[in-house]
């Protein structure tokens, strides 16, 4: 059981890191660009 929770929590972290990288490189709509 503990192993399962551990795996799920860590998979959550990997998904989160992937999502952050994707959002970082994703193109931003022109109107949100500034300066």
């Amino acid at each position: 059981m503990n192993n399962l929770i551990d795996t799920l929590l860590n998979v959550g972290i990997f998904v989160f890191i992937g999502l952050m990288l994707w959002l970082y490189f994703k193109a931003v709509p022109e109107k949100n660009k500034d300066s």
Partner: protein
């Protein structure tokens, strides 16, 4: 006010935790401990990696071309002198924790490490660990969070909210509104729990100081609750009227008392011994700080692993829990400074001060093997009385104990008042002059949460509850830092 869903949800969530704690204090403490153990064992590596990466990103930003970007318009000048900027920042970030852990933390580490290594190595390593917990990593967490808020507040004219970076960078869309709402809610929750924790730690500290001052034996809950009642009265008044300048003066008084106390111990105690410890500490710290940030002890025995979880990981989560509150505060006082000035000031000045502080108070515990003379069970079971036990070995002990009690009291009052302000601002969509009744309501909730933590009776339980509330925050901070880095890609640097 009651049409604001964020405020209502945040109030209900924190009030629910207070009620749970009041009805079943032990149950809440055990639940927090259980959850923290499970999540920290699984995510410990991620928390350490995040703290280390925040330090590396801070150093990179400070030294890169982005360092020249001003937090504000090009004609904006800093509002405060550099000294008072650093003093205010330090008081907000560390406050009562310094008084609480000054002597106790190095001695606790020493007693643990001395089981497996000679006393001289254990003392040096104990100071290093303490510096590590209070040094660059802690301030990188605060500094980078503060930088994100300051950048979007002063350069993009966004309200000072944790959700602002997401809305500015990705536009006003249903998903950014939903995520932003959850982020603000969790920030409010983390601040409320973190602050309530520091109320409890402060009350424990004042309680033991008063007991030492008046020779009260076995001072228990009664004394703690009396101090808590006085504290509630003391912070209610400033919430009713706008005393922003007066609060600044109180916070400066607290920091001045703390500095005087440090200088007193340095000069009256064995000065050369302290200075040798501090110089050695500087070297040790700056040589090993980066590698220690990646240390997660996977190949050590369970006792070491547990010690790492109980101290290092808890500290990192503690700084993360406080980051939205301290971040907003640092951001507000930093308009007109460049990113380089901001980050180098936030990272270096408090770290150097902490090395002096812990070098002196920790050094006092180690002088002539004093750590071995202290009652180990007192240090391990009642950590807050360690500072007073050591002060009692010096001249003018009644005066220094009274000063410590006064400074602890002032630190808590100023923290609660500013936290009630930040909470009210967050829960009213970034209103920089939130209504008095909202501030007052947060004052009451902070008081109730503080009471729960006092009833839990131990600093350990308080730390677990804080760590639990900070758990989701590690993700939120990474998210807003990513937004900052993405926004910086479009900046033309001067």
């Amino acid at each position: 006010m009651f049409r604001n869903p964020l405020l209502l949800t945040a109030l209900s969530l924190t009030a629910a935790v207070s009620v749970w704690g009041l009805i079943d204090t032990q149950g809440l403490a055990e639940f927090a401990a259980g959850m923290v153990t499970v999540t920290l064992k699984s995510r410990g590596w991620f928390v350490m990696l995040t703290a280390s990466m925040m330090l590396i990103v801070s150093i990179w930003l400070a030294l890169s071309r982005f360092g020249r970007i001003k937090l504000g318009r090009s004609e904006d000048e800093p509002e405060f002198s550099t000294f008072s900027w650093l003093a205010m920042m330090f008081a907000a970030g560390m406050g009562v924790g310094l008084l609480f852990y000054g002597a106790a933390e190095p001695i606790s580490h020493f007693l643990f490490l001395n089981q497996g290594m000679p006393a001289q190595d254990a003392a040096s390593q104990a100071l290093f660990l303490t510096y590590f917990h209070w040094g660059l990593h802690a301030w990188a967490i605060y500094g980078l969070t503060g930088l994100v808020i300051a950048y979007f507040m002063f350069r993009r004219q966004a309200p000072p909210l944790i959700s602002s970076p997401v809305r500015i960078v990705f536009g006003d869309k249903p998903w950014t509104r939903t995520i932003g709402w959850i982020m603000d809610l969790l920030a409010i929750y983390a601040i409320a729990i973190g602050l309530a924790g520091s109320i409890a730690l402060g009350v424990f500290q004042v309680q033991d100081g008063v007991a030492a001052l008046f020779n009260i034996q076995g001072a228990g809950l009664g004394l703690g609750l009396t101090i808590f009642a006085v504290l509630c009265l003391a912070y209610t008044l400033p919430l009713l009227v706008d005393l922003s300048k007066g609060m600044g003066a109180l916070s400066n008084t607290a920091i001045l008392i703390a500095i005087s106390l440090m200088l007193f111990v340095l000069l009256v105690g064995p000065t050369h011994f302290f200075m040798r410890g501090i110089v050695e500490g500087f070297g040790n710290y700056f040589t090993h700080v980066l590698s220690q940030g990646f240390q997660t002890y996977p190949f050590h025995q369970e006792a070491v692993d547990n010690y790492f979880t109980d101290w290092t990981l808890n500290y990192m989560l503690w700084w993360l829990a406080w980051a939205p509150f301290v971040g907003v505060f640092i951001a507000r006082i930093s308009k007109g400074r460049t990113i380089r000035e901001f980050l180098l000031g936030v990272l270096l000045a408090p770290t150097v001060f902490s090395i002096f502080w812990f070098g002196i108070f920790g050094g006092m515990g180690f002088y002539q093997g004093a750590a071995n003379l202290l009652d180990k069970t007192v240090v391990q079971t009642n950590i807050n009385s360690t500072t007073f036990l050591l002060l009692e070995t010096m001249p003018l002990s009644r005066l220094t104990i009274a000063a410590t009690v006064l400074a602890a009291f002032l630190f808590i009052v100023t923290s609660v008042v500013s936290a009630a302000y930040v909470l009210a601002m967050f829960s009213t969509g970034g209103d920089q002059n939130p209504p008095v009744k909202v501030k007052l309501m947060w004052g009451v909730i902070l008081g109730a949460l503080g009471l729960v933590m006092i009833l839990s009776g131990s600093a350990e339980a308080v730390r677990q509850i804080i760590a639990l509330s900070a758990n989701p925050f590690v993700f939120i901070i990474i998210f807003i830092i990513m937004c900052l880095l993405k926004a910086l890609k479009n900046e033309r640097t001067p």
